[in-house]
Assembly symmetry: C2
Homo-oligomer: 318 residues x 2
């Protein structure tokens, strides 16, 4: 008999903080979330998170000793596996010792912290769209474009825990837009939501609405607006080229695509497929399939728990 | 005390067949090579290889029982790990059961066959330019552009043993040349030797010499010929973009570049560095270093032996 105790899973993003209890089979038993507070200092943010964790544990009516451990996904960058986090979208935390603070809350218990995109792919591989496959790229297409890599059945870390960072694969080095990283023609510079909105506004879509969102752009595309359609084609084509390059380099079986923009459905996935099939022509490359991420909002929590439940595959840290 | 017996290493390419004995520390004790015969049938080719192997073993004055095993690199594609080989440049072998034929020659002994580019990166990682690093891309830039990937300290296979195939990473999807694979703008379509020669001839270099080679083009570049220089810049830039994408996706520490074209030295490596640094801008990407492959002609033999001597890192097959 395996250990049937649940894991406390935590998912920290720029928009929301979430926590839940996940059972060994990967089901989320109970969970809660709260908007990520703005303009709080490091300790105030921490107290907000600690209160959310208390709430989840109290609601589930389990004692802390009934937990197997704590897994946490957090926006990057971070020092991994030390768990000093500096999430781009949470300015209050710069070098915040998230892992050791969580360990203080749960003495004697394994506590593991990793990049939120890594947790998403771990979740999709463990219990979602990549289940049973050994070579999977999990992508998150949203405000940024990130991802994580499973190769030969194991989560790949790379030199600094950043493997899977597909957002900076180059898809248009000659005429592409400048990227926030300083490069030119990165996938993220084209396909991230805000970049699509900027591009669409330059084409004449809602030019006077500074708060227009990629979701509205996709919705307009779904209603047949030509600029909305063209924007989704532009993102889909860039994604397809990057996925072709990743497939060639890593001999992938499955690419799962999640994040807000993936909800545009065929408007995005059709041009993605078209560009992928135009560029991934070798016999082995043609075997790859691209699928929407299957776990939705819970992928981050499920993947955070996988770092404990299936550590041989998803946790290479100390 | 470890097992001090040598491994018989074999390296099968379209130009030459090589065999040697490699000791556990990675030194090649004795070796021999012969040009790959043209226009022979499968069995004649096999007899040529078997005679070469006999010659090496006889010259070394060891008995077959004094060997630890047999490692063999062979041009792809192949069915891996079964070792049925169909080398593009050796038309006489199509689905040839190389691994089982070698096993018949050395009964009761482990025999392992892998792609020659995979053996090169294994050799460079085990005893060459990637030694001591956990995240290494080994590239071969020659008649084709191939490679192999070491991530988190282990050779990556991917879904079909083709991981590391950087030649088909897309570097110029809009205006790049069509590739033999059917795609557009693949690295290989630009940077393989024959493609550079074709491009240079279109620019006016030796237009009437159908047998002109990339080596001659590089040599002319070294003498200051503007088309030769431009061709090396063209290849270097394409390589730099592909290396930037690979670094972003795989969080690499070291990229080793071997193969005939790498002997062009700074003519190739300077524009490679320039393009890489223009595109690899994130903190973690900037850590990558690009180095010439260190083992030269013996890398294939050393890597073939590594599949036996360091099987935990370089052999995931049966």
């Amino acid at each position: 008999m395996g250990d049937s105790r649940p894991v406390l899973a935590v998912d920290i993003g720029g928009t929301k903080l979430a926590a839940g209890l996940v059972e060994p089979a990967g089901r989320v038993l109970t969970w809660a979330q709260t908007p990520t507070p703005r303009e709080l200092d490091a300790e105030q943010l921490w107290r907000t998170l600690a209160a959310l964790i208390d709430r989840v544990i109290d609601a589930a009516d389990v004692g802390r000793a009934d937990l197997q451990g704590v897994g946490c996904g957090c926006g990057g960058p971070m020092e991994w596996p030390a768990g000093l986090v500096s999430p781009l979208n949470i300015p209050g935390w710069r070098g915040f010792p998230l892992r050791s603070r969580l360990a203080e809350l749960f003495p004697g218990m394994p506590v593991r912290v990793h990049n939120d995109a890594i947790c998403l792919v771990a979740g999709e591989h463990w219990r979602g769209a990549g289940r049973g496959r050994d070579n999977v790229l999990g992508m998150v297409v949203s405000t940024g474009v990130g991802g994580g890599l499973i190769l030969d059945g194991r989560l790949i870390e790379g030199a600094s825990g950043n493997a899977g960072h597909i957002g900076h694969v180059v898809v248009d080095p000659d005429t592409g837009p400048r990227c926030a990283c300083g490069g030119v023609g990165c996938l993220e510079a084209i396909a991230r939501g805000p970049a699509l909105v900027t591009w669409a506004q330059q084409q004449g879509w809602r030019p006077d609405q500074p708060d227009a969102t990629a979701r509205e752009l996709a919705d307009d595309g779904a209603l047949g607006h030509p600029i909305g359609l063209a924007a989704m084609r532009r993102a889909g084509r860039a994604l397809g080229i990057a996925v072709a390059s990743a497939t060639s380099l890593c001999d992938l079986e499955v690419v799962s695509v999640g994040g807000g923009l993936s909800q545009a459905g065929p408007l995005l996935f059709d041009p993605l497929e078209e560009a992928l099939r135009a560029h991934a022509r070798l016999e082995f490359e043609r075997q790859v399939t691209v699928v929407p991420a299957a776990l939705g909002q819970s992928a981050g929590l499920v993947g955070a728990a996988a770092m404990l439940f299936a550590a041989d595959r998803y946790w290479a840290g100390d």
